[in-house]
Symmetry: C2
Subunit: 431 residues, 2 copies
Amino acid sequence: MTTPTKDVVIVGGGFAGLNAAKMLGNQAGVRVTLVDRHNHHLFQPLLYQVAMAALSPAEIAAPIRHILAKYRNITVLQDEVTAIDLVARQMVAKECTLPYDYLLLACGARHSYFGHEEWEEFAPGLKTIEQATEIRRRVLTAFEAAERTANPSEQRRHLTFVIVGGGPTGVELAGAIGEMSRYTLAQDFRNINPKLARIILIEAGPRILPSFGDALAGEATRDLEQLGVQVWTSSPVTGMDRDGVQVGRERVEASTILWAAGVTAASLGRQLGVATDRLGRIVVEPDLSLPNHPEVFAAGDQACFTHGRSTPLPGLAPVALQQGRAIAENILREIAGFTRQPFQYHDKGQLATIGRSKAIVEIGRLRFGGFFAWATWLVVHIYYLIGFENRLSVTMRWAWSFFNFRRGARLIVNKEWRFYPPANGKKRPGP
Amino acid sequence: MTTPTKDVVIVGGGFAGLNAAKMLGNQAGVRVTLVDRHNHHLFQPLLYQVAMAALSPAEIAAPIRHILAKYRNITVLQDEVTAIDLVARQMVAKECTLPYDYLLLACGARHSYFGHEEWEEFAPGLKTIEQATEIRRRVLTAFEAAERTANPSEQRRHLTFVIVGGGPTGVELAGAIGEMSRYTLAQDFRNINPKLARIILIEAGPRILPSFGDALAGEATRDLEQLGVQVWTSSPVTGMDRDGVQVGRERVEASTILWAAGVTAASLGRQLGVATDRLGRIVVEPDLSLPNHPEVFAAGDQACFTHGRSTPLPGLAPVALQQGRAIAENILREIAGFTRQPFQYHDKGQLATIGRSKAIVEIGRLRFGGFFAWATWLVVHIYYLIGFENRLSVTMRWAWSFFNFRRGARLIVNKEWRFYPPANGKKRPGP
């Protein structure tokens, strides 16, 4: 008796989806389709470096279909998933509908503005290449505008950068702007001194980097202040417009506001009618499957995994990567007639970097900061960057940019490519 | 007696403007302001490689203010020039107004659709980073759409690529798409065979590459056909929509149409009330100045220079570069009390490349094609790329991408970065 080939559909080509696909690649008994609305896998831990003009998008992203080209049983489709029919076991996307025997939901997370979605226009978040390019455009354009104007208060507004949210992303963005203004841009302007840029990191909670220990967070605060970043804690943002933010009774005039304050899981999870946590993540069983739907799994930022833990697993790349692999292994195990194994997370610790040679590292009880922490951060990221595309070159190019720190990618790229206004007089319709 | 410092305003940071600025940099007696609407200088001869996903934008572009940072007498402003007041000797831009003693107009050219400006929406041209990214997005998205659909006629339409215009840019684009479909993408798809892509290079005139000799153009045609490119000569395009082009009585269904057919000088020249040629270029005196306005110069794609020649100088990088330098030298000469020299062009020949190891070269009477021509093309471009930024790294990264030919930059980047629709219900207003 031969078992018929099982259709595995993976939604999302991030760390979870991509690693699940790799593990299922060229295995007997499974036919895999990976669907993502982007054509590329993104190495998100380095996305802030694209936003800060140190790296080009292509250096931290690669076409998903190229990464998976050697697995003949995997098809990659660029499409946007709109619904899951749990009863008919079908995934519905904009351009196609796919039946599945197994489904993996790994669509990740997006920014949450806590009910103030209108703030996105003023304060972009950092989850996609497009957003990183937009942030880069805004930061560099602010320096250009400051150079152009003779009005001192306008100049001050253009040279004020507000980052909302004191987690690792906020800290990395603030540190990178500090470094850019103090080192990279220092000599390039005539009418302004980029070193006088005012950079404010605003955190609603009592301290930055709440997932790290007290001592390390304190060290990070001092490192940030050396780069000219002011850290405001216990300061919830209460209002925002295109010219600044309101923090309690204080108004900060700033033409650049960046959002690193909160995330929420992709909305697909909430549409399924299963339990989700307050971040919209699907509450999963010990094997990462959905309650009453053992054929459907969730992983990464879309899963809320609490088994044997006091708090759910955090939204980190190692969590997503290990979950993707575990799900693929369980599928293969079940097809081979064995029982599933519960997921076990191997804690790899956490890292955050603050500028060129400062970072903080927590691995189990090991906690340290400074240059050695930064070197650890570098090695870990180089290692995973190699892992993700197996290309020495990506790493070499990246390491070069990093050591050189020239921020070679300081391009302001506009959104509009057309020159001639459209003939019908309408406001430039999309093609 | 000391002469007062002269204000030199340069409009445009292309080959002409940048090289004029470099020559005036740190010279006594001049204060230079360079105005460009982009923040970067673009190495345009390699722009088609960005469009074809072989290079990243940052590899062929660099911030103008960074290139000129070491010249303390040069200020760089990002602004869009709207008018020139020849009488008051003022340059008027959107954000500022600058008086000048000398003015250099070097705003380059843009695509011309010969009165069919509505075609731009269907067939982008290739002059800016934004356009290159748009072309890349369209070409890669067409392959994705073809992979997704099961409808054979739709698939055929998605796999048909039309390039309008048989000059060097059209030939380079067509060759690169041929190569991409035959080599780079060949293994990455499951439902389509990228090798079956239909690539049509459409030229209205009797043959492609009219600026080259007959024999070389014939060689280029054969090279293109080896890469699967069909060359249609004497075939003027008469109509166009988002699904294809009309060529006489023949309709070609194609979801990707690229425009490489014609250019026109920046409109600023036409607003001055001076004589322009049919391409909108300012007819200049032997020293590149405007008739009756010796203090105003035009260079590069914006100048029509005919002195001692049967045809005007073509729109090539070496022409612009030499003209920019010659103008700067004349300004310095005049300030020092000497008379101006007429401009003399030193012909460096012309090159066009057709894929990875084929090219054609014409230097004076020397005409050759094939691998040696391609090697010449490579050396010339590496040399000028070094020259333009003095960074070995740019060249190394570029050479690596080129030899490897993996087209590492195969990212489809969308235009929209927002996730949440704006609160007021309007269609996503700009910030």
